[in-house]
Amino acid sequence: MRLLTLPLALVLLLGFSSAAHAQDVEQYFQQNCSACHSIGGGKIVGPDLKGVLERQDRQWLVDFIVDPNSKLDSGDPYAQELLAAANNVRMIKLGVDPVLANALLDYIGTKSKEAGAAAAPVEEETSFTAEQVSAGRDYFTGARSFRNGAPSCNSCHTTASIGSWGGGHLGPDLTAAMTRLGGRRALTGWLGIPGSATMSPVFRDHKLMPDEIDALVAFLEAENNSGAADAPSSTANFLGVGIIAAIALLALFGFLWKDRYTATRIPMVEKSKR
């Protein structure tokens, strides 16, 4: 009996783990890939992955998923073609190993068969309201805070109308972000699961709500359509103000301790000589 139990347990365990694995891969795709890629839903930021295995060799795809930069930098013509089609937005290195990359390709292959004909990407014609644009601006600057506790955009980004003193310069200027990503749909998808390696760990636990995303898209679309150039760098001005403030503090120290020698030390020395 006991002899039978062990193999049975093993079979059950393996069966469960492979089912769990398939679920993991689907979940992984939803959490890490779907912001930029659909399977049969048209181009978002990156290409529609429906039938990707028919377009390119499997090993090439595995290599690309594992380390997009080395393929993109190698001058590989197909990689260059992809980069141009994605408005030069590079796919980020997600830390996927070849095993997971193969599992993802299997998942994409299965889904490709289920998916219907690729729908042409539909850009909504509706325009955003002024309230949405203004709410988006407030979310951007932090005047209105995100409900799940995400930091406001201006911690790291600025735009033309926010100005160089208004927003941060850790990440890129977002004035033309919508054009760079490839439209409203791409931007909406991106904000749902921010795909950059710096943003993704921060926003993983602080997801933006749909209405917040809409407001931000409205604001960034308005910035994009304004056609303004990126906000200028604030480095020199900020340093200048910092130096002035430092000089003021030095002057304050000089004033506060102006009696430092004359009040105690010099009289004491004089007194001891008497």
């Binding site: 932090g142 911690s155 790291c156 921060v202």
Partner: protein, 229 residues
């Protein structure tokens, strides 16, 4: 790979050195736990090095510590743009103050023969490390604003991932080079800390703040003990 080395291995190694060497030094050579003040050797140049350096650095470290301990409060504070600018300009000014103090301190130790004598190799290494760190900090502040916000959002969770023994380098792996160098040099300073006079930071004479004042009474006849000029 490098990320693991710099943002997991280095921090733990530095913390290990900090505590093991720090405690061992305090137990074995308690009288070496001092800043070795040189104020009595020279005081005029000393004032313009030690005062800006200490007030600047204590302020800057307090802001870093606040970002680590109360990140949500910092983000809430920064929700108002005027408050954000106030915090950022204050932080930058304090950093510049620390730099001015440190440069004066280095000049004083280089220029005055009696100061050169009491400065050992370890002091020079430390001064250079601190100079690099403060310059990097200022460069990060002016090139990659707003540090107070993104420190709270990105660097703080990374540090907490280290402290809770579940290191997650994703938060810092893609930071700009200047930020990475500032972080790496910070851990080098923390690891080197217990070998240097920085050890005095751990024994700040806090009781001075609340102990009763002491009145010094002179009983001797000054004329009899006076040194003849």
């Amino acid at each position: 790979m490098l990320d693991t080395l710099f943002f997991v291995v280095l921090p733990y190694l530095s913390l290990l050195l900090f505590f093991l060497v720090g405690i061992s030094r305090y137990r074995k050579r308690p009288f070496s736990v001092t800043s070795l003040s040189s104020q009595f050797l020279e005081n005029r140049k000393h004032f313009w090095s030690t005062v800006p350096f200490h007030y600047g650095l204590i302020g800057v470290l307090t802001i870093h510590l606040a970002g680590l301990l109360i990140p949500d409060t910092i983000l809430a504070w920064n929700a108002s743009h005027a408050r954000l600018l106030f915090l950022e300009v204050t932080g930058l000014a304090l950093g510049i103050l620390a730099l001015v103090g440190l440069i004066n301190s280095i000049k004083r130790r280089l220029q005055l023969p009696r100061m050169k004598v009491v400065t050992n190799t370890s002091d020079w290494v430390l001064l250079v490390l601190l100079l690099i760190q403060i310059v990097l900090g200022i460069l990060v502040a002016i090139n990659h604003s707003w540090g107070s916000s993104w420190f709270a959002a990105s660097a703080s969770p990374w540090l907490w991932s280290l402290f809770t023994l579940s290191p997650d380098t994703a938060y810092v792996a893609t930071m700009p080079l200047l930020v990475k160098l500032h972080i790496i040099n910070a851990w080098i300073i923390i690891g080197y800390f217990p070998f240097t006079r920085l050890i005095h930071v751990l024994v700040v004479p806090n009781p001075y703040l609340w102990r009763k004042t002491q009145v010094v009474l002179w009983h001797r006849d000054r004329k009899t003990v006076r040194i003849k000029d």
